[in-house]
Homo-oligomer: 147 residues x 4
Amino acid sequence: MEASGRSFGDGGRIVETAFRVRYAETDAMGVVHHTSYLVWFEVGRTEYTRAVGLPYREVEDVGVRLVVVEACAQFHRPARYDDLVVVRTTVGEGTKATLTFRYEVRLQWDGTLLVSGHTVHAATDLSGRVQRMPERVRAALTGRAPP
Amino acid sequence: MEASGRSFGDGGRIVETAFRVRYAETDAMGVVHHTSYLVWFEVGRTEYTRAVGLPYREVEDVGVRLVVVEACAQFHRPARYDDLVVVRTTVGEGTKATLTFRYEVRLQWDGTLLVSGHTVHAATDLSGRVQRMPERVRAALTGRAPP
Amino acid sequence: MEASGRSFGDGGRIVETAFRVRYAETDAMGVVHHTSYLVWFEVGRTEYTRAVGLPYREVEDVGVRLVVVEACAQFHRPARYDDLVVVRTTVGEGTKATLTFRYEVRLQWDGTLLVSGHTVHAATDLSGRVQRMPERVRAALTGRAPP
Amino acid sequence: MEASGRSFGDGGRIVETAFRVRYAETDAMGVVHHTSYLVWFEVGRTEYTRAVGLPYREVEDVGVRLVVVEACAQFHRPARYDDLVVVRTTVGEGTKATLTFRYEVRLQWDGTLLVSGHTVHAATDLSGRVQRMPERVRAALTGRAPP
């Protein structure tokens, strides 16, 4: 499924979120507008944080924001209005300052890969100042114990 | 142009804002998605407040928000990708607590009426509590001197 | 709940659709942008058509489009990121040429009414020409037998 | 301005498009939602095609679509509501089947770099089948004479 020897998730947790394509998400090509998939990545990210026990709303409640510093997507095949799609989300490697989420969007009924991509997130306080990624946040999202 | 005897603007100021239709604003019907026109109303509102000397950003800077409490639109004809459209914005009647903006979206080259509508706005503080519409705001937006 | 003596749905079918608020649907006021609710109306409409046995995708497949000719919404209270909301959708009165959908958006956990509204739809062919509302479509959506 | 020795545009044509940030483009962080910048890339692309004499609308009119197969963006600093921003667009290298557009989003008044990125496009017919990039399209967009 991937060019590299590693498979998606690479042993880490994968959280799946399914929903239907909205009409508003399509464009005049008759298929889903490419930016809609990045909104879906965000939906997957929200559900990932809930599944690992640290809902993103709680992250913000303690004064930390995970801002997007990079987003990339490869568009393999288009989704269409009313398709039932699933976003698969996992957390990959990062740096001291960042965390990387990786995503796959697939048709639910047959698993066809539609879009793959990743986003890189830095931690900031509520005023937007970059800070070190809090260990509690990193530990919760990567599933690794804090040092 | 209107069913009633009154014409659009009714003697008050009309501010025109022109721009091109974005691909992202279309949907699978091949034309502009109906909710995009309400985003354009908001663009027209922003430019109206700038034109009368009280940019909306400054309204928020002094701790007042004009929240939308009602929005209505009639869709007469569709706009298409790359069309040059113009939003005509005016401020109509209101109550002690509200202000009403009215809008027309037209094709720029021949004036064809595409969409008409209005939004009603209440004043709140930054925490969302409704307050009386500040006279300075009402006077600036309606062009009438404060009492 | 309504100013008139009639209750929402008025005896007709009500279809409920629940989902979570997306981050992309919020704006700088910290709450959901008002146009997002109209996208949710559309989500409710899609699920209504599925529930009554005539999914909108099939309507388009037979060459009929239900285009939005009017949309109105009243915004009572704001939804926030990650809130679980429910859209309640019903079909009301119409004319020979139109059908009216009515909507309520509520917080799921306590039923607080956030937004109410309606959309009016005309039938067109795939080229956008208005036609009489097909009886099969009207019967399916209103739950009344064709004459 | 760039880590590599090459400067943006690398000698090719750069087309600038300026506009104001819309309220609808912000999110609950108080700044522009990251997916909005990709919509702006598309606006820049549209204006680039117009500036080089082959408006994208005409590309579609002759039965060719330039579909997005990859999109990447780096987010350096956030834009805010009502900021006047400029999108700088250029066409870079490509393959036989693809064209790459590159973008910078800057604050207009002082040139601060907000976002940079690129999109890769493949040519398809109107049914979505990938085809070789038509030489007329490639020549017009890259500014190089067809072979």
